[in-house]
């Protein structure tokens, strides 16, 4: 069964249609990308899926359960890490657990168990301002993961990083995903990033925003390290550029 099913979402702001009949599915452990130019309604779609914004029409199903317009079930992560500057990294990451009602100690303990896997060991007692941008995004992803009911929404998570850090983060990200098998719906406007990271890509074009194409990346994720230098990669890129 699909982990997340988003069906026929419509959304308008002040009479202007932003999303039209958008349907997206996400299987368990899958990384799916929404690719589109800025202002096409990607972030609005995320607000709808996370329950922060009710859609005008359509439904959001998590494990078959209708969660349309109900926040608190699906977490998201933004380009801004949104780590609280006045909390240590471990408390920042434990925050979603504390909000769910877990005791502080227990939450810290549970969060602490993942630091190693996310490459964050040793940062527990530090404050966000003491970490680099890449490390902060790792922490933000771990926080998102701890909160998720198996599904995470990532809104351009790496777009604020410089190119070299970004490439390193892609590799790290695929490694981590291999371990935690988090089902991820992912927004980007970076075509290369989409091809390197995703199992499937939806092209979102507008306006209003509509899904116009679905592209499956057949190559397994573990072969993606040098993927961007291959002919297959360029074929995908060409296909996407023609459609956008």
């Amino acid at each position: 069964m699909e982990k997340l099913t988003v069906k026929n979402i419509n959304k308008a702001f002040g009479g202007k249609q932003v999303l039209e009949d958008v349907s997206v599915t996400l299987g368990a452990g899958e990384i799916v990308c929404l690719l589109g130019v800025s202002g096409v309604g990607k972030s609005t779609l995320f607000n709808v899926i996370s329950g922060l914004m009710p859609p005008d029409g359509g439904t959001v199903l998590l494990d078959g359960e209708d969660i349309t317009g109900k926040p608190g079930r699906i977490s998201y992560m933004l380009q801004k890490d949104l780590l609280l500057p006045y909390r240590t990294i471990e408390d920042n990451i434990a925050l979603p657990l504390v909000i769910k009602g877990m005791g502080k100690k227990e939450a810290r303990k549970q969060a602490g168990g993942h630091f190693e896997a996310f490459g964050l060991a040793g940062t527990e007692k530090k404050y966000p301002s003491q970490l680099s941008g890449g490390m902060r995004q790792r922490a933000a992803l771990l926080r998102t993961y701890l909160f998720s009911s198996g599904v995470a929404l990532l809104d351009e998570p790496f777009s604020a990083l410089d190119n070299l850090t970004k490439t390193a983060m892609h590799k790290w990200y695929l490694d981590v995903m291999e371990q935690i098998r988090l089902s991820t719906l992912y927004i980007t406007h970076d075509i290369d990033e989409a091809i390197v990271l995703s199992d499937r890509i939806y092209l979102l074009t507008g306006a209003p925003g509509r899904i116009t194409e679905e592209i499956v990346i057949k190559e397994p994720r573990r072969e993606r390290a040098d993927f961007s230098l291959t002919g297959e990669f360029l074929a995908y890129k060409k296909q996407i550029l023609e459609k956008l």
């Binding site: 607000n47 996370s50 329950g51 922060l52 926040p71 608190g72 079930r73 699906i74 977490s75 998201y76 933004l78 801004k80 949104l82 609280l84 500057p85 006045y86 909390r87 925050l95 979603p96 504390v98 909000i99 769910k100 404050y127 301002s129 003491q130 909160f147």
Partner: protein
């Protein structure tokens, strides 16, 4: 070690200017440019602290106690006002102008009225201090609450947090910096407010001491008490700064490393 040295050198100009001022003061009195009875020498003022120590300490205790109660209640009231006005915008619209008006009324003008209403004991003094201290706290907190990053609030909402949790995890900690700026001003106001209300009627306190020595034309004692009041205000402001550092360790990280 180097850090300490740097600290001392950065304070050097201030120390020098204070020393220079004292020197000029000493010179003016020694040369008799201003008559002794009008401007006592620094030495004469210092000797008052020695001779009148018991009396000064006793009165300072009264003033400090008033300032403490007034400030405590003022901060609590300011906090309650800020939280309520932030939670209900109609309360903000209804009462914020009123709060501003309370600050335009000169303290010296209300103090006698408070004495008439509440007598010569501590109550009117504490009320006056509350009136002058709650405002900077309320304004500081309100500014802090309003400046919260909406994305952070949305993230917590997505995590399922309600208003109370958003307040506890985002709004309150984000407002600490402006809160402490307001508190520092309030601390200074609290001492001044206490002294002013003591001038206008009371049985003890530095303000009462001041009116007494004024009537006796004891200029050396006037100077001593003025210096004492400003030292107390400085100490209170320093205490607020200390509390700020203790409650916001993340702001002073670079100083530790």
């Amino acid at each position: 070690m180097r850090k300490r040295l740097k600290n001392t050198t950065s304070k050097l100009p201030a120390l020098l200017s204070c020393a220079a001022l004292l020197g000029i003061w000493q010179l003016v009195t020694a040369l008799g440019i201003v008559p002794r009875y009008m401007l006592p020498s620094p030495g004469a003022v210092a000797s008052v602290f020695y001779k009148d120590f018991g009396l000064l300490a006793e009165n300072a205790k009264v003033t400090l106690l008033e300032a403490f109660y007034g400030l405590l209640l003022g901060v609590l009231l300011g906090f309650v006002f800020a939280v309520l006005m932030d939670a209900f915008s109609w309360l903000y619209r209804a009462f914020y102008p009123l709060l501003v008006i309370t600050q335009t009324i000169p303290t010296v003008a209300v103090a006698p009225l408070l004495v008439l209403w509440f007598g010569y004991e501590m109550t009117p003094k504490i009320i006056l201090i509350i009136v002058v201290t709650f405002f900077p706290v309320t304004v500081g907190l309100l500014d802090g609450f309003k400046a919260v990053d909406p994305d952070s609030v949305n993230l917590l909402r997505a995590m399922g947090a309600g208003r109370l949790k958003i307040f506890r995890h985002i709004k309150f900690p984000s407002a600490l910096t402006p809160f402490f700026s307001g508190l520092r001003i309030a601390a200074a106001y609290s001492v001044v407010g206490a002294v002013i209300s003591e001038w206008l009627g009371g049985f003890g306190g530095l303000g009462v001491y001041m009116t007494r020595v004024k009537k006796a034309f004891a200029f050396d004692k006037m100077f001593a008490v003025i210096i004492l009041i400003s030292v107390i205000s400085l100490l209170l402001m320093w205490l607020v700064g200390f509390l700020e550092k203790k409650s916001m360790p993340y702001k002073y990280l670079h100083e530790k490393e």
